[in-house]
C-alpha cells in the first residue's frame, strides 16, 4: 500500500493511500464530526456533517467520501466549515423533539456532544416541529422513536451489509421519513439490539436497558461474553456492584464491533439465582466447614476421587484442576460435561456454548491428560469433584449415585442433591483468560465483586501440598509462570495481553 503525503490544518502526515479524510484526520487525532459514517459500514454521505474545505476545490467536500490524494491540503476548522457544521446541526435540530431528559442516549448522544463542540448557536426556527410516531416497539428487543431519528441509515446498512438480512428501510420522504420493516413486520432479528448501539441518536434504543440507569453513572470494564465459545469482546457497564448491560467492544480478531442479542442479554444471569454460600445437602453451612470436609476426602482417600469439569471456567482454573488431577489425585483422565448446543449462524454464534471449551481442550492436550465426555457412571469413582455445572439434564442421573462435591456459580437444579456445594465467583467477579473457537486468547478484568471467592482460591487449598503452591496466588502469577510457557506464548505476560487478544 503506497504512502500519500497530505496536510491537515497545516500539519503534514504520510497516510496509506485510499483511506478517507476522516481516518486520516483521526491519525493526527483531529476529530471531524460525522453521523452517517461508520468505519465498518459503506459510505452513505447523507448527513453532510463531515464537510471539510480542501484547497482549490470550489465547494466543501464530505470527508467520509473523499479519498486522500497526494499533496492534498485539508482545513477542518475554517470559517466556512464552522458555518456549514452549525447549519447542518440547525437543520437536524429543526424537527428533533426536546427529549433529552427522557432519552436513554443522553450522555452518549452524538447530537449533544457535537452541539457543544461544533455548533453552540441557538436555532432561528420558530415554526411547529413535525410530529411523528414516538417510542413504539419496532421489535421485541428494540424501541424506535421516529421523531428523534435523523435518517442517517446506519441501522439499514448494518442489517444489509453485516448481518446480510436487509430488513430495515426508510418509509416516506423528506421530513416525514422514518425507519421501518417491510409491511411493519416485527424487527425480530438475533442481532437487533446492535442497531441501537450504532444509532448515533436516541432513535433506536434497547428495550431491556430502557430507563434503567443514566449512562454517565456507569463504569465500563473490558471483559468477554459468556454466552458461547466465540468469546466476543464486550464492555461490562456496572454501577455499585450491579451490572446493567453488556456493550460490544471493538475487536478485529473476534467480533469486529457488534455482539448477538442473546449474549448481550445474558448479563441478567450475573444477578439471578446465584449461589451465595456453601450448602450441605441443600441446607446452609459455613464455607470453611465445607472446604475442610472436601480437603479431608482429598487427602484421606485421593484414589477414590474423580474429576468432572464443565469448561465454563477460566484457563487458570482449568490448569489448576489439571495439576490437581495429575499431581494430587493421580488421575490420568478427566471427564467434562457440556451444555445444550445451539446452531452456528455463521456470523458470530458458535455451536458450543461452554465459553472456554477450546481453552479446556488446549490446556488438557498441553498437560497430556486424557479428557472425554461423561457417558456412563462406570468410569467414575466413589467421590466426584464437580467444577462448574451448567450442564445438560441427562448427566444428572449419571452422577446421581456418587458423592458429589460441587463448585458452582449458580443455584441450578443440581445444587440441592450435591453432598457439598460451594459458591464461586463468575468471570465478571475475577480476572482471568479464555481461549475461543478461533484460538484467540483473551484476558477479562474484574468488573464487580459478588461476594464469592474465585475457584482458584479453593483449588490452591487443595494443592497446598505441592512445592510451587505459592505461585498459585493469583491468575496473573499462574498465567505468567505456567500457562504462557505451556501454550507457547512465553514472551507475552498476563498484563501484556492486548485488548484484541492473542492468537494461540
Amino acid at each position: 500500500m503506497s504512502e500519500v503525503l497530505i496536510k491537515i490544518d497545516g500539519r503534514e502526515i504520510k497516510v496509506p493511500e485510499g483511506i478517507n479524510i476522516i481516518e486520516a484526520a483521526r491519525m493526527l487525532n483531529i476529530e471531524i464530526p460525522h453521523f452517517c459514517y461508520h468505519r465498518h459500514l459503506s459510505i452513505a454521505a447523507n448527513c453532510r456533517m463531515c464537510l471539510v474545505e480542501v484547497k482549490n476545490s470550489p465547494k466543501l467536500l464530505p470527508a467520509c467520501q473523499t479519498k486522500v490524494l497526494n499533496g492534498m491540503e485539508i482545513f477542518t476548522n475554517t470559517e466556512r466549515v464552522k458555518r456549514a457544521q452549525a447549519a447542518i446541526m440547525e437543520f437536524l435540530f429543526i424537527n428533533h423533539p426536546v427529549d433529552c431528559p427522557i432519552c436513554d442516549q443522553a450522555g452518549e448522544c452524538y447530537l449533544q456532544d457535537y452541539y457543544m463542540k461544533f455548533d453552540k448557536t441557538l436555532s432561528r426556527f420558530k415554526e411547529e416541529k413535525v410530529k411523528k410516531r414516538k417510542a413504539f416497539r419496532i421489535g421485541p428487543r428494540v424501541i424506535y422513536d421516529a421523531e428523534r431519528c435523523i435518517l442517517c441509515t446506519r441501522c439499514v446498512r448494518f442489517m444489509e451489509e453485516i448481518i446480510k438480512r436487509p430488513v430495515l428501510g426508510i418509509k416516506y420522504r423528506g421530513n416525514r421519513g422514518y425507519i421501518t420493516t417491510f409491511g411493519d413486520r416485527p424487527f425480530d432479528d438475533p442481532y437487533s439490539i446492535n442497531t441501537a448501539d450504532i444509532c448515533p441518536v436516541g432513535a433506536l434504543t434497547s428495550y431491556d436497558f430502557r430507563f434503567k440507569v443514566r449512562v454517565w453513572e456507569l463504569t465500563n470494564t473490558n471483559s468477554i461474553c459468556w454466552g458461547c465459545s466465540k468469546n466476543c469482546s464486550i464492555l461490562v457497564c456496572h454501577k455499585n456492584n450491579t451490572v446493567y448491560r453488556f456493550l460490544p467492544r471493538e475487536n478485529e480478531n473476534v467480533n469486529r464491533f457488534f455482539i448477538c442479542d442473546e449474549g448481550r442479554l445474558s448479563y441478567r444471569l450475573i444477578h439471578t439465582d446465584r449461589l451465595t454460600n456453601a450448602l450441605r445437602k441443600g441446607n446452609e453451612v459455613d464455607i470453611d466447614g465445607a472446604t475442610s470436609f472436601i480437603n479431608e476426602i482429598i487427602n484421606g482417600s485421593p484414589k477414590e476421587v474423580s474429576i468432572v469439569v464443565s469448561p465454563s471456567l477460566s484457563n487458570e482454573s482449568i490448569y489448576l484442576i489439571g495439576r490437581l488431577a495429575k499431581d494430587v489425585l493421580g488421575l490420568d483422565a478427566v471427564y467434562f460435561v457440556m451444555t445444550q448446543k445451539w446452531a452456528d449462524d455463521g456470523i458470530l454464534k458458535n455451536k458450543i456454548r461452554d465459553f472456554n471449551y477450546y481453552g479446556f481442550e488446549k490446556i488438557m492436550k498441553a498437560m497430556d491428560i486424557r479428557y472425554s465426555e461423561l457417558k456412563t457412571d462406570l468410569q467414575l469413582k466413589k467421590n466426584v469433584l464437580l467444577f462448574g455445572a451448567n450442564m445438560k439434564d441427562e448427566y444428572k442421573n449419571i452422577l446421581a449415585k456418587r458423592r458429589i462435591m460441587l463448585f458452582d456459580t449458580h443455584r441450578d437444579g443440581f445444587v440441592d442433591s450435591a453432598d457439598v456445594a460451594i459458591s464461586i465467583s463468575s468471570i465478571y467477579e475475577e480476572e482471568g483468560t479464555v481461549i475461543n473457537a478461533d484460538g484467540i486468547l483473551q484476558r477479562y478484568e474484574k468488573a464487580i465483586d459478588g461476594g464469592a471467592k474465585p475457584l482458584v482460591v479453593y483449588l490452591r487449598d487443595m494443592l497446598s501440598g505441592l512445592d510451587d503452591e505459592y505461585l498459585f496466588e493469583s491468575a496473573e502469577l499462574i498465567f505468567d509462570n505456567f500457562l504462557s510457557p505451556l501454550l507457547g506464548l512465553s514472551e507475552i505476560t498476563f498484563r501484556g495481553i492486548s485488548n484484541s487478544g492473542v492468537k494461540v
Binding site: 435540530f93 443522553a106 447530537l111 449533544q112 452541539y115 457543544m116 441557538l122 454517565w216
Partner: protein, 394 residues
Amino acid sequence: MSDLNERVQEITVNMGPSHPAMHGTIRLLITLVGEKVVRCDTQIGYLHRAFEKMSEANKWQAIFPYTDRLNYVSPLMNNVGYAQAVEKLIGIDIPERTKYIRVLLCELSRIADHLTCIAAASMELGAFTVFLYCMEGRDLIWDRIEELTGARVTPAYIRIGGLARDLPEGFLDRTLSILPRIEKVIGDVDALLTENPIFIERMRGTGVISQADAIEIGFTGPCLRSTGIKHDLRKKSPYLVYDRLEFDIPVGSNGDNYDRYMVRMEEMRQSIRIIRQVVRDMPGGKISIDNTMYILPPKEVVYNTIEGVVNHFKLIIDGIQVPAGEVYDATEAANGELGFYLVSDGGGKPVKCRVRSPSFALMQGLEKMVVGGSLADIIPTFGSINMIGGECDR
C-alpha cells in the same frame, strides 16, 4: 510578689472545643503560671469538612454551595472570590451591572460579618445588649439578602460569568432604607462600648501584636490594619469596580484588641458609604455573559428549544470545560485576604481547588498575642480575631 509565682507551678488548662467562647471548633491547651499564660497550643480541625476533597469530586459550577459554607458569616464574599478566580482562569469578562451588584453584596456581607464579630466578642465580655442590637442589625441585612437570593445564610447566588437572577423591583430603595437603621445600630454600639471603662479596660493593651510579627505570620485584613499597616486588597490590587469608588481604609496604631474593634467599626461606616455610591451609579443591562458554554442558558430557551436543553444537559453532566492551567486570585474578604488557587486539566472538575483562608493564618498568631497576657485576655483576643470555623478548617 515574684516568689509567689515560683511557688505556683505550671498547670495545663484545656479550653476545649465545646467552650462558649471558643465558637465550638477550637481547642486551646493553655499552660498557666497562676493567671499568666505561658504557652498556648492552638488545636484546630474540629470543623474540617473536606472542602477540597468535595470540590475535586464536584463540577466547577457545583462547588458554589460549598464555598458558601467556608466563611458562613459572609457567604457571598466566598462566592464572589471563587467565581472571580474561575472567570480569571477561563478569561471571561463579566458585564458592568454584575460587577456593581457583586460589590454591593460584598459590602453588605462585610457589614454583617463585622456586626457578628462585635456581637460575639462583646457578648463574651458580658455586653449582652450589644449582642441583641447587632443581631437586629444583621437581620436587616439578611432580609435584603434573602429577598434577593432566597436564603439567609447559604445564598449560592453567584454564577461563573454572572449571577443567578437580577435584582427584584425596588430592591435598591429598600437597601437604601435600611442603611440609616444600620447606622443607628452602629451608633448605639459605639455609644455603649467605645467609651465604656470596663470595655476599654478589657480591650486596650490586650492581645497586642507587632507589625513585623503580623506580616510574617500572615496577618491580613482588620487584624493587620489594626497594627498600622495601610493594606487593603480593594485599594492595593483593585478588582470589580473598587477603583471607581471613594472610600478610605481605617488603620489602627498599636495592634491591640481595642484597635481591631475600632477598625471594624470604621470599616462598617466605610462599607455603608460604598453601598450608597454603588446604589447611586448602578448601571442597567445584562447580568450574565451570553456565552452559553460557561453559563446555563435562560430557562425559556431550555424548556422550548432542543439546543437549549442539549446545552443545559451537557453543562450539568460534564461540567464547564475550563481550559487547562492554574490561577491564584485573592479578594479582600471580611477577615482578610481570601485566596483561591485553582488548577484545571481542561476537564469539568478541578484538579485542585485550594482556599487560602485568612482565619487559618490569623490563628497561627494567636499564641504570640496571648502568651504573656492573663487567662481572661484570651477571650477578647480570640473574639476580636473573628475566627470562623468553616473557613479556618475548610
